[in-house]
């Protein structure tokens, strides 16, 4: 689902103040609507492509990461092995790790520094269990969107409210939309007549666009795409996409060395400054 907030977010970010209260609910609803459309397409395309109904449904509940779900199903529908599908999905989801670092303070329940220590010393065992359950649940709703909403808030309580409102709403909206898509896909046999096969690559491009701000990334991605398309006629499905990762070498290494050693110490030239958290989560800009 990465990047969906970029386009909806441009509408959201018009107001100078971060969304709160009714505004937060409205903004979250807009994002849920946009993602719902993707979920609908995902469910319909998966079953129309011949997968059993429970595959998109189970993925949406258990994996709950739109980009990797679309990627994995795309690999399988192209005839790729489950291993290649899992590998592609897992690489896409590595970004969730820095996201977790960024929102760790709001995923669990509110920190009670002094009380927590007292609780831990005896009567609070039940509360400790509850704190862990909330944290385990919160981790599952870490997405591009919920992290984006959380990072737009400065006040800790508002950060927490934004994260949980977006995370839980999106979980509900995504899964309902995928289920509806599965129904639609099993009724309409020939989804190609409606051009649904074009929505998958379209979604993937929209997801990748915010990350293509730098020339280095564009060179890597372009090289990777050429490698993948060129290998598709000869390699088993799924492998060409993984082979595209070789494109990283073209854009990444040489440029990074030169800017690190000889580049001027301006913040915008230092690639090390461009971490996942330095991407504006709302506009997708760095």
């Amino acid at each position: 689902m990465r990047g969906l907030w970029r386009t909806t977010g441009s509408a959201l970010s018009r107001g100078p103040t971060p969304s709160r209260g009714p505004t937060l609910v409205r903004d979250v609803a807009l994002v849920c609507l946009a993602d719902g459309l993707v979920g609908l397409s995902f469910g319909a395309t998966a079953v129309a492509g011949g997968l059993p109904w429970w595959v998109p449904v189970a993925m949406s509940v258990l994996v709950f990461a739109g980009g990797s779900q679309i990627a994995a199903v795309g690999v399988v529908l192209a005839g790729g092995s489950p291993f290649a599908a899992v590998a592609a999905g897992a690489v896409l989801n590595t970004r969730l790790f820095p996201y977790g670092l960024a929102v760790a303070d709001v995923v669990g329940p509110a920190e009670q520094s002094d009380r927590a220590r007292i609780d831990a010393s005896g009567a609070g065992a039940g509360r400790t269990v509850r704190r862990w359950l909330i944290r385990l649940l919160g981790a599952q709703v870490i997405t591009d969107e919920s992290v984006a909403f959380a990072l737009r808030q400065t006040d800790p309580a508002r950060r927490r409210a934004a994260f949980w409102t977006c995370g839980l709403s999106l979980f509900a909206a995504w899964n309902v939309a995928v289920a509806l898509g599965v129904l639609a896909g099993s009724v309409v046999r020939n989804t190609n007549a409606f051009g649904l096969d074009a929505t998958f690559p379209a979604v993937l491009i929209a997801l990748a666009l915010p990350a293509l701000a730098e020339l280095r990334t564009r060179v890597s991605a372009g090289t990777g795409a050429v490698i993948a398309v060129a290998l598709t006629p000869v390699l088993p499905a799924g492998l060409p996409v993984l082979a595209a990762l070789a494109g990283l070498a073209t854009g990444w290494r040489p440029r990074r060395r030169t800017t690190e050693r000889t580049g001027p110490p301006r913040a915008d030239r230092r690639t090390g400054n461009r971490t996942a958290s330095s991407i504006d989560p709302v506009t997708g800009e760095r």
Partner: protein, 102 residues
């Protein structure tokens, strides 16, 4: 796609999510690693878009699909709202097929 594959992908995904929240105080992710993660994701997404937009199995998919994807990509680059991007891809491809373009 076997259930086991879904469960493995779900487990890896959840582990990545939870690890971030647990290790916040203990580790600092090297900036270069974060950049590599982001770049790898972008490379995969674009490679998938290219192969699924142009190819059908081992062969060329025909012109209707890449045309729809191209229009969607241009709209997305112009920051058109996401639902419009998705609908445009489907509509362009569907209309071209209706007109007889494979």
């Amino acid at each position: 796609m076997p259930l086991l594959a879904i469960v493995i992908l779900a487990a890896i995904t959840y582990a990545l999510r939870l690890a971030g929240t647990l290790f916040r105080d203990r580790i600092a992710l090297p900036p270069a690693a974060a950049v590599l993660f982001a770049d790898a994701a972008a490379v995969l997404l674009i490679a998938l878009a290219a192969t699924s937009g142009l190819m059908n199995g081992h062969d060329f998919a025909g012109w209707a699909r890449p045309a729809g994807v191209l229009v969607a990509g241009l709209l997305a680059a112009r920051r058109v709202p996401f639902p419009v991007v998705v609908l445009a891809a489907a509509c362009v491809t569907a209309l071209l097929r209706l007109a007889g373009v494979a």
